[in-house]
Symmetry: C2
Amino acid sequence: MGDDGRHMTPDEFRAHGRAVVDWIADYYERVGSLPVLSRAEPGDLRARLPDHPPSRGEPFDAVLADVDRLILPGITHWQSPNFFAFFPANTSFPSILGELLSAGLGVQGMLWATSPACTELEAHVLDWVAEMLDLPAAFRSDGPGGGVIQDSASGAVLCALIAARERATAGGSNERGCDGRLVAYASSHTHSSVEKAVKIAGLGRENLRLVAVDGRYAMRPDALDEAIRAYRAAGRIPAFVTATVGTTSSNALDPVAAIGRVCREHGVWLHVDAAMCGTAAVCPEFRYIHDGLELADSYCFNPHKWMFTNFDCDCFYVADRGALIRSLSVLPEYLKNRATESGAVTDYRDWQVPLGRRFRALKLWFVIRHYGVEGLRRHVRRHVELAQRFAGWVGEDDRFELAAPAPLNLVCFRHRGGDGVNQQILDRVNASGALYLTHTRLDDRLTLRLCVGQTHTELSHVAAAWDRIREAAG
Amino acid sequence: MGDDGRHMTPDEFRAHGRAVVDWIADYYERVGSLPVLSRAEPGDLRARLPDHPPSRGEPFDAVLADVDRLILPGITHWQSPNFFAFFPANTSFPSILGELLSAGLGVQGMLWATSPACTELEAHVLDWVAEMLDLPAAFRSDGPGGGVIQDSASGAVLCALIAARERATAGGSNERGCDGRLVAYASSHTHSSVEKAVKIAGLGRENLRLVAVDGRYAMRPDALDEAIRAYRAAGRIPAFVTATVGTTSSNALDPVAAIGRVCREHGVWLHVDAAMCGTAAVCPEFRYIHDGLELADSYCFNPHKWMFTNFDCDCFYVADRGALIRSLSVLPEYLKNRATESGAVTDYRDWQVPLGRRFRALKLWFVIRHYGVEGLRRHVRRHVELAQRFAGWVGEDDRFELAAPAPLNLVCFRHRGGDGVNQQILDRVNASGALYLTHTRLDDRLTLRLCVGQTHTELSHVAAAWDRIREAAG
């Protein structure tokens, strides 16, 4: 099997494919009992791998056995129901099957013509998602805007910034390059991807202005307005604002409507990053988080965080696709084709940084069809309820306090004993393997974060986590 | 199954997983008989999809049946042995299984700590690949450089440009932004991703200088030298050169050694893009394509083109990882961890545009272990031989001519009857469904391209393609 370097046959693939499918099913049956944070030390895996690639092929069974023997000890189990760290990157069996089918088809959706279904399913499912979240009509593909799947919220904010840069300079920065006059704005709690994008796009880190936040760690629209006016008065070009619906530190909800009014007044592009929390808007009772979104020029959220779709799947919407396409389109001879020239189709290569793209809409389509909108609502509500239960327990224990509002599925909390005690709790619970928590700093105090979003997290897991945390504080 | 919105169980996943595995095996058994270029018209798929997402979940069997009914007619079959268009994006069963396992594990490798095996396997396998291609020692992880998997050659060239920009300005462009003085160089045949990167990075399209090519469509080092001197004399900052090993139009091989000497003399970053052809260097007899690569600062090639690994998998190497990391690193509090602070680990988030990343090294590891280095050589040699056979047939037919040198697996050719006849051939063969060819323009003449790289392409497919082409010319 493979030792002579020949291709695996379809029948061999059937057999090995079943073995991998069974491996994955087994994995999900036991993942809750594995230490969540890998206990590997730096270099552990590399020391066990052969120094040189094999000259001759090896049997697939040997490779799969090495996954257990070599890889598994080096895995931090993001799909453990005891994973409460960062934001989740959850998934589901239907999503895994969608990814498998995408890999099997192996199509390249760079142009409509290179697989029409890849482009059309994506545009269609993104319209479905816009309906599911009740997003503004401008983001749908039947108007001047539309949606596309990006690799991540980082990719989305970079594309939004590029489009904003072009709009602010009437195409000048695309042609002649940046000249140091453009200014971008975000709050001091905005995700690091915005700073990264500002650097990549040639604006310069100094030209990202961090706007002050209020007591709930949300951006202050008055401070934004002031900062835009000051820079404009100094001859600069305020071009781009990122508002966040659910910051990574504390899930703060920037006031999109008030920020949007400021942006409209000054003609500045507003991008709204709802990477995790956007999913909550599938439930009507949580849609308030998007109030004012009709004032945004672009928006993204990640089904690969909380909507049971495996990484990578970021849904990115623009109200005016022309601005995006003008800034990213390059059409060499070897990509020209009749469909593109007809103007009747979308070529998604012009909506993203890379040229190539795989068929990521399949997995999102599988997820939505498997769960249905009502099913997704049910699971999102369950996660929010679990986080609220946890927040309630924190509130009832005099040794602990809530460190920020917990509107949805992230709870920021701390022991009242100070940074040392909180670091000890963090280290102990993570070393225990029973759960995985990460931290942030709020008002310069070490703060623990517990985020409920893994697909299979139930009340028992959250209750056990709380027990373990209290124990670690003792 | 799913109609109540509940999660698919592991046992249901076993059953549905087998069905998808079998679907894929069946697909490969029949793909050679399907029309290669999709016959769908714009809007065909969208017209058949429900306007609204389902409220309640649907059985998985219904979803899979819709893949046949709705999706398949809209697929252009990149995995058909009769696919000769663009550059290939081939794959193999071991790669598909690696992607499946990666989706099943669902880990996020943004930090070493968030799954040590994800980072360490990637670093290790990229060292294996460097050995397989006999790349310069500086690109290996045990020195100042190292390798990382990017989504595409577009992502790689953008990262290279960002690092080059920073080196040329001693960090100034990262901090203060671009100022219009930086200049990048490529040949007039360089891939469109370079122009896209130059625009994204804020240099401006006007500041990408297209260097003249010689009669073989390869960059002229003397013209590059002259262009660098002219801009430097004018007070500009030449910062970045892309040399291509196998251009997309005609597979021209830019002379890396001579270009590298020019770049060294002027202190300009040299990036070498060997997106498709790099794979050929697995065979010692083809390694001449990389002559002079030790003068390059960065290099990339795509196993997702010709090394039987499904998209996305671009191997990107830098000789000095510090330059790359300094330009892309942002470390917010919520990502800080002891392993990062120890300095003993690699955090690949600082080597790429996005923060998140999935476990792509698994599929490349599976491919190398399944085939072994000798097995990969065998298949690459076979593809080159098939292309050379085709080039021979073209040379023997008085009606046709070779339009450019065909050193490896791409043949550029044309009918001597002019653009009209060649367009007719292209339209007829693609409409027939029997094969898929694309075109370019060389010396402003329409030129047909036939690229041999799909995993299962054999002599019979190439011979049938040639028959069909001659017939279409009649």
